[in-house]
């Protein structure tokens, strides 16, 4: 059952890579190397985010458990994340400026929140 689930996930990722490459008008075939690269990136992102969430325990352990469960659910339901990530991290100036403004907002909120709570 688990094996079938993993294969379905693998097929979904391969399908997404094909779609991505079609969108970028690339004719190269999906090779074992490119598939394993995307899978590695996928697992790297998921594990890093989940490990990062564990650091919330320094503030509150219950909040950490809640965020961890929520984060795990969101990450696994949004798979494959790397496809979206790759699409968002292009050289498009509009996307860059969007994330620059977003980060600025997050940074200011973080400092404001930090000031009133730490």
């Amino acid at each position: 059952m688990r094996g079938r689930y993993i294969m379905t996930l693998y097929d979904t990722i391969i399908k997404k890579i094909r779609e991505m490459e079609e969108k970028t008008r690339r004719e190269a075939a999906v090779t074992n190397i490119s598939a394993s690269a995307v899978l590695t990136a996928e697992l790297t992102i998921i594990s890093t985010v989940l490990l990062m969430i564990l650091m919330i325990r320094k503030l509150n352990i219950y909040v950490m458990v809640l965020v961890f469960l929520l984060g795990a659910f969101l990450l696994f339901s949004m798979m494959p994340i790397t496809a979206t990530l790759r699409r968002e991290q292009t050289d498009s100036f509009y996307k860059m400026i969007f994330y620059v403004i977003l980060t600025f907002g997050v940074l200011i909120s973080l400092l404001y929140w930090g000031n009133i709570n730490v």
Partner: protein, 497 residues
């Protein structure tokens, strides 16, 4: 010998200006650029430690002649400790940073001069100007002076990309400048807020004013300034959200220029990062911001690197990802983590420069950076392939090299600081870095050679020389890490209570 402190900034600026004027006088440009490039890493080695005052004089406490003629309400106040001049501080940490920056600059300029028959005076000018600007950023104890050189460094880097004549370089340079048009004014606004609150732009004076209660550090103005300056720091060092543009910038530069630009990013990250931590020592969320942005850089940079099909972009993303290790070291804030972070900065500047130069040899041999179009290069120059795999091993943190030592120290310091999760993240991402490099190495050197690939057998000997020099230093720092780690005492003293 204190005047040599000023010379570290003035000499490359003067040389750059002269080279610009000498444009088209090829032989003179080559000789002058090479002589100054050789001198650059030597000056920090012979200069004495100390403080240099530009256009002013030392604090009144160090100047009894002036103090004699001043009223008691001045001599009895903290004003006597303030620095009425643009101040440059040169200690052991600055020595090693400027030496490594100078060395990378020398190797980049040397490689560039040897690769072309007709050297461009303007191109060399930009490389020297950016080197001078980043040296000033490392030395400056004056935040407005730092901002000015921060802008010069950004503009010079965009100029280097513009001069590379690579397809798409104009667009990339323009995008970098436009994003700089958002980030740099934020940094300037942060500086202006600090000036407004303290009435001084000298960093040591600002900290003195905060610590002695002359100003109230809890004033929200300081917090706003912290946010704005951190935002400028993200741009200068290429941490998210600027990681995409920074990796793009590396990929549109010529390999020797990319090796120099990445060193600029590394030392801007360290210099401005240390200043932020010194100024906002009392705001714990600032250190958290360092850690969060660093993890984001590592995760995004390294996971994007493994998916790249262009090796220039791949190494660009890897370079951005590796910056995160430095940020984590600074963010953890313990003596060991700061030492490890600073050591990682030195190591990364060396090994990434070597990798950029090494990937440049592939570009030189084949004319393409598309990994899919490459293969079987091992048989042409096995020696260079050997140097490349060594550089890849070093970047991933394989013992006994320098990056292994700094990453091990970082992991140990994360565990000691009570963050085993951070240690796990660093181990995981080092493994992925190794995989990324091996994937590219296999595709370029080991897989069968495509039929339509045309390969030149010749590689400029200057590139091989530069790679060997960098790898030798990496090995020496790996076997004797104390040579580097014993130099960071002055910074650790400033950052730890």
């Amino acid at each position: 010998m204190k005047s040599l402190i000023a010379l570290m900034v003035i000499l490359p600026i003067l040389c750059g200006l002269l080279l610009n004027l000498l444009h088209k006088k090829d032989r003179t440009i080559k000789i002058l650029a090479l002589i100054v490039a050789i001198i650059l890493p030597l000056i920090p080695l012979i200069a004495s430690y100390g403080t240099y005052y530009f256009g002013g004089y030392p604090p009144i406490t160090e100047n009894p002649t002036i103090a004699k003629y001043l009223p008691a309400y001045i001599t009895g106040s903290y004003l006597t400790k303030f620095h009425p001049a643009i101040t440059y501080i040169f200690n052991s940490a600055q020595r090693i940073f400027i030496f490594i920056l100078g060395l990378v600059a020398f190797l980049a300029i040397f490689t560039s001069l040897n690769e072309v028959k007709k050297p461009s005076g303007v191109y060399s000018f930009l490389m020297f100007m950016a080197t001078a600007a980043v040296t000033a950023i490392i030395l400056a104890d004056d935040i407005f002076n730092l901002y000015v050189f921060f802008e010069i460094a950004a503009i010079s880097q965009a100029g280097i990309i513009l001069s590379s004549n690579i397809k798409g370089s104009y667009k990339m340079a323009l995008r970098y400048l436009l994003l700089g048009g958002v980030a740099a004014p934020m940094l300037l606004l942060g500086v202006a807020l600090l000036l407004g609150a303290v009435g001084n732009v000298n960093i040591s004076d600002m900290i003195l004013a905060m610590k002695t209660g002359l100003v109230n550090p809890a004033n929200p103005i300081f917090l706003a300034a912290a946010g704005l300056i951190i935002f400028g720091w993200l741009y200068g060092s290429g941490l998210p959200p600027f990681h995409t543009i920074k990796s793009g910038l590396y990929s549109k530069a010529l390999p020797h220029a990319a090796s120099l630009i990445q060193a600029f990013s590394v030392f801007t990250l360290v210099a401005l990062g240390v200043i932020i931590l010194r100024l906002f020592y009392y705001v714990p969320v600032v250190r958290w911001a360092f850690i969060i942005f660093s993890i984001a850089a590592m995760a995004l940079g390294i996971s994007m690197a493994i998916m790249q099909t262009d090796f220039k972009r791949l190494i660009g993303f890897l370079a951005v990802g590796e910056l995160g290790y430095i940020g984590i070291g600074l963010g953890l804030g313990t003596a060991m983590s700061i030492t490890a972070g600073l050591f990682q900065a030195v190591n990364e500047a060396l090994v990434t420069a070597c990798l950029f130069l090494g990937f440049g040899t592939i570009l030189y041999q084949t004319g393409t950076s598309e990994i899919d179009k490459l293969g079987g290069l091992l048989k042409y120059r096995p020696g260079v392939a050997g140097l490349m795999i060594l550089a890849g091993f070093i970047m991933a943190g394989i013992p006994p090299f320098n990056v292994f030592q700094s990453k091990l120290m970082l992991i140990q310091s994360a565990i000691s600081a009570g963050f085993p999760e951070l240690a796990l993240i660093m181990i995981l991402l080092s493994i992925v870095t190794f995989m990324t490099f091996m994937k590219a190495y296999y595709a370029i050197y080991l897989k069968p050679e495509p039929r339509d690939l045309e390969v030149k057998d010749r590689i400029p000997s200057s590139t091989i020389f530069s790679m060997i020099v960098l790898l030798v230093i990496c090995t020496v720092f790996g076997i004797l890490p104390k040579i580097a780690t014993s130099q960071f005492g002055s910074i650790i003293q400033l950052l730890t209570p």
